[in-house]
């Protein structure tokens, strides 16, 4: 029943049409859901958040390491996070669209490290922390990412707030 010439319609049908009209007249921003997901990702959800304690470029007043980067930006920057009982240093190296990520956990302890894109589904990379506390992601995704640390002793995973690669 979509006859607009005045044929009787049920209240619900008419309201459905009003609702549908408004979806056309006032569509949400195209990135509405992405904005929600980014905001949720920034919240402390199922994991404990690590604290960003140092970021070389932010300290130098150039640019925060947590901000978006140009797609072809080249350079190396470092971040340091503090968790319960350990510290993580990250070094991000980017050359054009290629990026790699090196990390050190101190004191060294066996952990699985996961690197995931905040907005894109799937594509979670995994690495193990070595005896010396090192881990690496030779090919890191670009864009907003977060890193999650899972210890072998269990407990809540520890995650960094989103940072840009």
């Amino acid at each position: 029943m979509t006859d607009t010439t005045g044929a009787p319609r049920s209240d619900d049908e008419l309201l459905d049409e009003v609702a549908h009209l408004w979806t056309k007249l006032d569509p949400p921003p195209a990135d509405l859901a992405d904005g929600v997901l980014a905001r949720l990702a920034a919240q402390d959800l199922e994991y404990e958040l690590l604290t960003l304690v140092e970021s070389d470029q932010a300290a130098a007043g150039v640019r925060s390491a947590t901000l978006q980067r140009a797609p072809d930006e080249t350079g190396t920057w470092s971040l340091e996070y503090l968790g319960p009982g350990f510290r993580v240093q990250l070094r991000v190296s980017r050359r054009g669209r290629q990026a790699r990520l090196d990390g050190w956990v101190s004191p060294p302890q066996p952990m699985t490290v996961m690197l995931s894109s905040v907005l894109r589904k799937g594509g979670v990379l995994e690495a193990q922390v070595s005896d010396s506390g090192r881990f690496e992601f030779p090919v890191a995704p670009a864009g907003a990412c977060r890193m999650t640390f899972v210890t072998e002793t269990g407990g809540r995973p520890q995650a960094t707030p989103p940072f840009w690669i």
Binding site: T2, T4, T5, G6, P8, R9, D11, D12, E13, L14, L15, D16, E17, V18, A19, H20, L21, W22, T23, K24, L25, D26, P27, P28, P29, L32, A33, G35, V36, L37, R39, L40, Q43, L45, K121
Partner: protein, 199 residues
């Protein structure tokens, strides 16, 4: 409105409520993608719910985000997966109402009234080219008293009924929402009939 099958903001067969309940269940069972699916399904609905209260676009986006954060914080209190859409829409409406009260201290009253009206100067809707049916509906809605326009937009957005929220948003007694809704819909039908007669 048959030109777009599966229109999202409806109570009809195309409504996302069932899919939302399923996504919510998956999330509660530990599947992270369930939440993402839920966000993508219902954020456009929440947008309509919030905008219907007269909030500007920027504040509306913020309210939608806040609503999702509230869900993550209070997911345990939601009785059943079927209740998820209603819970989100109710939270969004209340949050919008709260944000709107706050905003109304910052800008003149006329602005707010205009923001409800048709057409709305801050939205792209005047440029929207509609098919004949939708255009006829828009014209008919535009002829209704402003209060009816507001009420119908609010009632139409999200799952029905939501009289309690509508009542607080429009500052009307709950008992009068049903009859007022009925009168507004009758006026709308009347306008549509008149328009059909002219064509």
């Amino acid at each position: 409105m048959s030109e777009v099958p599966g229109s999202t903001a409806s109570t009809g067969s195309g409504a996302p409520w069932a899919a939302a309940a399923a996504a919510f269940t998956r999330w509660r069972e530990g599947e992270g993608e369930g939440l993402e699916d839920l966000v993508r399904l219902l954020s456009p609905v929440l947008w309509q719910v919030v905008r219907a209260t007269g909030l500007d676009r920027e504040r509306a986006e913020d309210v939608v985000q806040t609503t999702w954060i509230a869900l993550v914080d209070h997911a345990d209190s939601i009785a059943s997966p079927q209740a998820i859409s209603a819970w989100l829409c109710t939270s969004a409406r209340r949050e919008a109402w709260r944000a709107g009260r706050h905003a109304s201290r910052e800008r003149p009253v006329e602005d707010q009234v205009l923001a409800y009206g048709l057409p709305d100067h801050e939205s792209p809707e005047e440029q929207v080219i509609l098919e004949d049916e939708a255009e006829a509906l828009r014209r008919a809605l535009g002829k209704l008293p402003e209060r009816c326009q507001k009420l119908l937009r609010i009632v139409a957005a999200g799952p029905r009924p939501n009289y309690q929220d509508v009542a607080s948003t429009l500052d009307m007694p709950v008992g009068s929402i049903g009859p007022t809704r009925g009168r507004c819909l009758d006026k709308l039908r009347h306008e549509l009939t008149l328009a059909g007669g002219i064509r």
